[in-house]
């Protein structure tokens, strides 16, 4: 089972780079999610890998095979890949069995009986046994999705590509299918690229996440790494909610903004440099006089607004002697009112400095 390597991949549309010198390595049997907002180049990247598009520069390698370069491109049908589309792209004029069996017709040395058996097996895996003779229009959205999955997996591709496959499903079904796709990945172990704009989906499904920003990979890592140690302002802002404080480095491990001074999770800042600091709302705690670890940042402020969200309460806190407003997520046990004076403790490990 080979991996996929993208080297300096570039694709322009009318002078604008949709994918800009993109580098990414997907290890064998790994599932990597390409995550980003619309227009970040994730779908273009996937279509480049599939061979529907030709890159202007860069190369795509699968194992020892170079599939795309600026001068030559292997057509999609010879890439030994399979893809699951956003629209499912089930052929309405073919039955479920014909849809699923289509790709097997291009496998050498496979008899009709073999094909039928494989199709039946695969339909059992996706829990659609007995639906062979139906047409796609006779199926529900979730069932259509399963047919699309079966059609892609039955050919035993080297690489599986998924383009926002769950975006047409309703919320409950979407959640269920996340686990289903993860389960199938663990069963078959196919190297997979998964495009999504939904961070929760990316976190549940993937081994690693590649966050894309304006055609480049902003950061690659496990869900935990990306969430806890974002490397750019974009990643910190895009993944989960966060407070971003623009400040200036005062010492190698502390920054200031006006009267506010924060110790941060670093020891090598250049004093005088501009630094953004990301602080997750749930890492900030309300301090009572006795609580708090030595060395925590302690700041005082006043509650500006309270929003009750059921499982948490969202506070906006105006810091004293500062223009900074922090959002704080706290358990609903504690109920503060707007206008109350509060003290906050922020561990330095929760203050992640980001280069500008």
């Amino acid at each position: 089972m080979p991996g996929v390597t993208l080297r300096g991949l570039t694709k322009r549309y009318g002078g604008v780079a949709a994918v800009d010198n993109l580098l990414l390595e997907v290890k064998p049997r790994e599932l990597v999610a390409l995550l980003g907002p619309s227009g970040c180049g994730k779908t273009t990247t996937l279509r480049l890998v599939a061979g529907f598009l030709t890159p202007e520069a860069g190369e795509i390698w699968v194992g020892e095979r170079c599939l795309s370069s600026a001068t030559a491109v292997v057509p999609p049908e010879r890439r030994r890949m399979a893809m699951i589309f956003q629209s499912y792209a089930l052929w309405p004029h073919l039955t479920v069995a014909q849809n699923v069996g289509y790709g097997l017709r291009f496998k050498r040395g496979m008899t009709r009986t073999d094909r039928d058996r494989r199709v039946s097996e695969m339909l059992r895996v996706v829990q659609l046994d007995g639906f062979q003779a139906r047409y796609p229009s006779q199926l529900s959205g979730g069932q259509q999705q399963r047919v699309a999955v079966a059609r892609a997996l039955v050919v035993e591709p080297e690489i599986l590509l998924l383009d926002e496959p769950l975006s047409n499903l309703d919320a409950n079904l979407r959640e269920e299918m996340r686990f289903e796709i993860r389960r199938l990945h663990e069963t078959f172990g196919i190297t997979t690229l998964y495009v999504t704009h939904d961070q929760a989906e990316a976190m549940v499904i993937s081994d690693r996440i590649a966050v894309l920003d304006r055609g480049r990979v902003a950061q690659v890592g496990s869900a935990e790494e990306i969430f806890q140690q974002p490397r750019t302002r974009f990643v910190a802002d895009f993944i989960g909610r966060t407070n971003l404080v623009d400040a200036v480095a005062a010492t190698p491990d502390a920054v200031t903004r006006g009267a506010l001074r924060l110790r941060v999770a670093s020891a090598d800042l250049t004093p005088g440099a501009r630094v953004s600091v990301s602080i997750r709302p749930h890492e900030i705690a309300f301090a009572t006089s006795t609580e708090g670890h030595a060395g925590d940042n302690v700041v005082s402020g006043r509650v500006r607004r309270v929003s009750y969200l059921g499982d948490a309460v969202d506070y906006q806190i105006e810091l004293a002697d500062s223009d900074v407003v922090l959002r704080v997520a706290a358990a609903p046990v504690l109920r503060l009112r707007a206008g109350e004076a509060v003290r906050l403790t922020i561990p330095p490990s929760a203050c992640v400095p980001l280069p500008e």
């Binding site: 170079c66 030559a72 052929w91 004029h93 289509y102």
Partner: protein, 562 residues
């Protein structure tokens, strides 16, 4: 590092695209280029003398004026008929809507010159049946109406132009949500106020563009003016251009007279496109709730009577008189057993050689043009929809561009372009084929374009990634999904070809007559019975194809999915 780059194989489709592009240039650029050139040329070189001569001639000025009068009144009358009918069938509880729609569709596909001809038999000042009945009832010496007048011409042309208005408006009304109207009603507006202040303004772009389509129809028409205006002693632009081709032909003047017609058409279509392009602001579209028909109450049956009066004039009376003339020994005599005969059929199909040849020519041209046209339209629509070549937008534009060329003008251009080397096509069926192909391509392209817009590209990509090559995907996925749409394209082109008169009348030669031209000739000879037989034959063919098309599309081709 070991490299296993596979060179991309040469794409066999490239020559196909190039051929199509070249063909489009041959169909469009060559005739229009020659038309423009000849209009400014004389033996002394480049000149505007042709224009000066043509537009200085009082007779020709009169023809120009007649055309403007005709077009304007046809537009206005089409609105007067089409708007209420669209509202009645689209929005109210009028009974018999399906039948009404079917009959309006029948008026839409009836060749206007057949209608004009039927109305000669119905309302000619002396022998016209309606006038005879009127005289018999009243004892008057005066006819009820004389169809050989400008108002008669406006009347007949309107009967076959109002469906354009009707289609535009009925389709728009279907998109205007009832909620918008109910929002007005809940704020206290009466039913009439809602219609005037909400529905009407929302439908206004469609109404104006329907008006423009009807005007264009009247501008480009040759048959009806030739049948009704010429005996009345007046000309329109199209009949005048045709006269320029009577011996000795004055091609330069015909060209100079064609250019303004071409420009007017182009301008009006541009205007119409603008109007429809703005439609977004109207809030038309989006989610529409269930349609709640407006109760007409006691006006229900009066409205129905009005609608059927119109449809009697477009369909019932003309078809009845054609049938009568086809089966009667003498069409003007009362229908009795003695007067019935099949001799007209034997005469038309077996004895009169011109008709037999014309039928064969028409069928041949219809089948060849429809086949070539459908293939071309499909290719072009596929290329533009899938953006397969650089400049694909230009191809799409070229494919619909001929829509601005009135048939007569196209014929003048083709006549000039293909009576000289290197391509001497005049005198062969080929020149008619080129004319029909050019004229029908926009309709065919529009149909094919809709078809491919309905085939999601991901359906093809899914086939590619699973191992099927481009041609295999075309054959196994695209073709089956597009099939019914392409059959409909074929039918549209075929129907357009078999009824074509305005270009044929200039391009035919004795050996290359088609049915419409023969009907026109027979009129000069006063062979009413043979005309009626040919007319019925033509209608039967048309309706046969319409049925085929509806089966293929699974809906009626005005766009309803009832």
């Amino acid at each position: 590092m070991r490299s296993s780059v596979v060179k991309s194989t040469f794409d066999r489709s490239v020559p196909v695209w190039i051929t199509t592009a070249v063909t489009l240039v041959l169909l469009m650029i060559l005739p229009l280029g020659w038309l423009a050139w000849v209009s400014v040329s004389s033996e002394q070189g480049t000149t505007f003398a042709n224009y000066v001569q043509v537009f200085g001639d009082p007779h020709l000025q009169k023809a120009l004026w007649n055309t403007i009068v005709l077009a304007f009144w046809v537009g206005a009358a089409s609105l007067a008929v089409g708007v209420p009918m669209a509202w009645l069938t689209g929005r109210t509880d009028l009974p018999g809507k399906r039948t009404i729609r079917a009959l309006i569709m029948a008026s839409f596909v009836t060749p206007p010159f057949l209608g004009a001809f039927a109305w000669v038999m119905l309302a000619g000042p002396n022998a016209g049946l309606l006038n005879k009945v009127y005289r018999g009832l009243t004892g008057s010496d005066e006819p009820l109406m004389n169809i050989f007048t400008m108002s008669g011409l406006v009347f007949v042309v309107t009967l076959y132009s109002f469906p354009y208005v009707y289609i535009m408006i009925v389709n728009t009304l279907e998109l205007i949500a009832s909620d918008l109207e109910e929002a007005g009603a809940i704020l206290g507006a009466s039913r009439l106020r809602v219609a005037l202040t909400i529905t009407l303004p929302l439908a206004l772009p469609a109404i104006i563009s329907g008006f423009i389509l009807a005007v264009l129809q009247a501008l480009a028409l040759f048959g009806s003016p030739a049948i009704l205006a010429l005996p009345a002693g007046f000309h329109t632009i199209t009949t005048q251009i045709w006269t320029f081709f009577q011996y000795p032909p004055k091609v330069e003047q015909a060209a100079a007279f064609s250019i303004p017609l071409l420009l007017a058409t182009a301008l009006l279509l541009q205007l119409q496109k603008r109007l429809l392009g703005r439609r977004g602001y109207a809030g038309v579209g989006g989610k529409t709730g269930a349609r709640r028909p407006i109760p007409l109450g006691r006006w229900r049956w009066a409205a129905l009577a009005g609608v059927f009066a119109v449809l009697a004039c477009t369909i019932v009376l003309p078809y009845a008189i054609l049938a009568k003339a086809a089966f009667a020994k003498a069409w003007a005599q009362p229908l009795s057993w003695d007067n019935l005969t099949l001799a007209n059929f034997t005469f038309t199909f077996f004895e009169y050689s011109a008709t037999r040849d014309a039928i064969i020519n028409t069928l041949e041209l219809g089948i060849v043009t429809a086949t070539v046209g459908a293939v071309m339209a499909a290719l072009l629509a596929y290329v533009t929809n899938r953006r397969l070549v650089p400049g694909h937008q230009a191809l799409g534009f070229l494919a619909v561009a001929p829509v601005v060329i009135p048939g007569v003008v196209l014929a003048v251009g083709l006549f000039i372009a293909y009576t000289r080397p290197p391509l001497v096509l005049y005198g062969t069926l080929a020149i008619l084929f080129v004319a029909y192909l050019t004229k029908e391509l926009p309709v065919g392209y529009a149909q094919a374009d809709t078809t491919f817009k309905g085939v999601h590209p991901e359906l093809e990509e899914a086939g590619r990634i699973l191992g099927a090559g481009r041609l295999r995907v075309l054959r196994e996925i695209t073709a089956p999904l597009a099939r019914s749409g392409i059959i409909a394209t074929w039918c549209f082109v075929f129907i357009g070809v078999i009824r074509e008169l305005s270009a044929s009348i200039i391009l035919f030669t004795p050996a290359t007559k088609v049915i419409s031209v023969v009907i026109f000739d027979l009129k000069e000879e006063g062979q009413f019975a043979a005309i009626s037989v040919l007319g019925l034959f033509m209608l039967a063919m048309t309706f046969g194809i319409v049925l085929l098309m509806q089966t293929a599309l699974g809906r009626d081709f005005l766009g309803a999915k009832d």
